[in-house]
């Protein structure tokens, strides 16, 4: 009985999975196109203030409505997503490089180095991420780089752990022993055999980190600790929309949030498919 339910479920789930992955791919493509192409093509000033157009509800002319100084919110959201995505990608890249180097070094050197490094990672991890980010930004702000640095510094820990355990499991494989007995140096083994084996996992972690980093940046910006207001990210948009919301106008708050949620779900959907590819045996339903 268990087998039968598994098969029937497996089939329906596989087809919904295909739909989910294609939809995710479409959304990610649309997001990338929008943030790359819209700014150079549209030639509209997203900062142009027009007080006669302020706080218009969504309409054909302004699909997302306008904000409290008459700026088109669709355009503001696209620019905001562009800035959030840029910060997210840069922070995720920095965090991945740091995490991969630390994790690989800990596993490669082993012994005391490993123990001390992983203890440091645990210590770092016991400070709540957003709080650590808030602390770093509070000390170094204002500016874009403190935000990027604070997001990157709070995100490399998981990558370091993943890379370390991956390197440790690779190192026990026969082909590594073969390379070592063949006379390869420690560096050659690391560069030729260990790193290429680790990169898919690190890459997957990096992709999953992008929405997380965007979320982090938005939270910092919303708290007034993030990007300066002339570089309005999605978090800044929600922050400035707060006064309009308390006056009863919902659209300046709603749409920037949706612009954060939908790309996050799409990236998670794609990364889930990728994870099944590189880890077919660990087909976890929990994409957390």
């Amino acid at each position: 009985m268990a087998d039968r339910t598994w098969t029937s479920h497996g089939r329906t789930r596989r087809s919904t999975r295909t739909v989910r992955v294609s939809a995710s791919a479409l959304i990610v493509a649309a997001v990338v196109l929008a943030v790359l192409i819209v700014p150079p093509i549209v030639q509209l000033d997203e900062q142009a203030v027009d007080l006669s157009q302020k706080l218009l509800p969504p309409s054909w002319e302004h699909p997302f409505g306008t904000d409290d100084v008459g700026r088109d919110l669709l355009l503001r959201c696209v620019y905001g997503l562009r800035i959030s995505l840029l910060v997210g990608v840069v922070a995720a890249l920095v965090a991945t490089v740091v995490g991969t180097l630390v994790g690989a070094a800990a596993a490669a050197f082993g012994g005391w180095t490993d123990r001390i490094v992983m203890r440091l990672v645990d210590t770092f991890a016991s400070v709540p991420h957003l709080l650590l980010g808030i602390f770093i930004v509070a000390m170094f702000r204002p500016g874009v780089w403190p935000v990027v640095a604070s997001v990157a510094l709070t995100h490399w820990l998981s990558t370091a752990r993943i890379v370390r355990s991956e390197v440790l499991s690779l190192r026990s494989r026969p082909f590594i022993d073969a390379a070592i007995s063949g006379g390869s140096s420690r560096w050659r083994v690391t560069a030729r055999h260990l790193l290429p084996g680790v990169l898919p996992q690190a890459g997957l972690a990096a992709v999953l980190m992008v929405p997380h980093a965007m979320w982090h940046e938005s939270a910092l910006s919303f708290l007034g600790l993030g990007l300066p207001s002339h570089q309005a990210s999605l978090g800044n948009l929600v922050q400035t929309a707060r006064s309009s919301l308390l006056a009863g106008d919902w659209w300046p708050t709603l749409f920037p949030g949706l612009f954060l949620i939908i790309p996050t779900l799409a990236i998670a959907g794609l990364a889930g498919a990728w994870r099944e590819r590189i880890n077919p045996r660990r087909r976890s339903e929990l994409m957390l």
Partner: protein, 340 residues
């Protein structure tokens, strides 16, 4: 609850206090260096930053103050001493209960924490209770029919909620319940103009922030219970219970939920960081007078003494949460034990 999970039907069963206490003691010994390192890290980051304690302490008054009085303040604050000396002074006075003075609240840091920590604990407890109860109920219902409509709707909603920032949910909740429907207050602890904190006032003001914080924590609990119960439903004990002709509720709640709840038990303690993250956002949105909102205020005005103390406090809370979850796990699953 944990006793019931530990062993069925033994009313007089004693908890393994000895091993639990030894584990707690071991963990406390391990936690001390972590906390020391975090306090030192906090001072080192501040030392490396362009942050000037004298400017932060004097605020706008510092712009017009004479150089001598600024130098006097600098000497009083002891900021010219080397990093290690300042850290050691802070640490030794912190152990006697003196955490310095908060410049933004204009009162000792210890008083700020004492006044506010209770409100944060109330909010967190209400939110956690909601997330656990609702997450367990929905998780069991969804696991009962995997792939059914309830499962699909609840799972999609969980992934969407997981991606939604808590501050955004909070703002939309304010718009709907406080502005459109006018049924609940938009923030604060009491109505404006009322100085007396009454039970009714606090209860109505607690509903929205606790619901938003709880719902932002809900997806994890729901997804873990759903996964755990669904896995347990495929296992032999459940099949055996069904074969013995036990009723569906007994199979579901007495057998599948009991083993399916194990992964969630470890989550209860290890979710403290996410709870703190959510509280930082939710307390700020709802102007809740807790320590998380104070943290954000301290950060915006670069109030180092308050921010440092609250960062260390949060780290301690995380470590306690980890210990708690390991103890619960050891209780619920005797195979795990208390050796960690």
């Amino acid at each position: 609850m944990t006793v019931g999970l530990h062993k069925e039907g033994t009313a007089g069963h004693r908890l393994p206090w000895g091993p639990m206490a030894r584990m707690a003691g071991r963990r406390t010994l391990l936690a001390a260096p972590v906390l020391l390192l975090v306090t030192f890290g906090v001072f080192a980051v501040a030392d490396a930053s362009p942050f000037d304690p004298v400017k932060a302490y004097t605020g706008t008054a510092g712009l017009t103050a004479s150089q001598e009085s600024l130098d006097q303040i600098r000497a009083n604050l002891g900021v010219d001493q080397p990093l290690v000396t300042r850290w050691w002074n802070w640490l030794t006075s912190a152990l006697t209960g003196d955490l310095g003075d908060s410049s933004v609240m204009r009162q000792p840091v210890a008083d700020v924490i004492a006044e506010r920590v209770g409100w944060s604990a109330l909010l967190a407890a209400a939110a956690f209770a909601l997330a656990i109860l609702l997450g367990t109920a929905l998780g069991v219902l969804a696991a009962r029919r995997r792939g059914g409509w309830l499962d699909r709707v609840a799972s999609s909603a969980a992934y969407t909620l997981e991606a939604a920032p808590a501050f955004w949910l909070g703002l939309l909740a304010i718009w709907l319940f406080a502005l459109k429907l006018g049924v609940l207050p938009a923030g604060g602890l009491t109505d404006t103009g009322s100085d007396v904190v009454t039970f009714d006032q606090v209860a109505t003001h607690l509903v929205l922030p606790a619901a938003v914080l709880g719902i932002s924590q809900l997806p994890w609990f729901f997804l873990y219970v759903r996964q755990g119960v669904a896995d347990a439903l495929d296992e032999d004990p459940v099949r055996g219970a069904r074969a013995r002709g036990l009723s569906e509720p007994v199979v579901l709640l007495g057998h599948a939920l009991r083993s399916g709840m194990l992964p969630m038990l470890t989550l209860i303690g290890s979710r403290v960081p996410e709870l703190i993250t959510g509280a930082l956002l939710v307390e700020t949105v709802f102007s809740w007078p807790g320590i998380a909102a104070a943290t954000v205020e301290a950060a915006t005005s670069a109030d180092f003494p308050l921010l440092a103390a609250l960062t260390v406090l949060a780290t301690a809370a995380v470590l306690i949460g980890n210990l708690l979850s390991d103890l619960l796990y050891g209780l619920a699953d005797p195979r795990v034990g208390f050796d960690g």
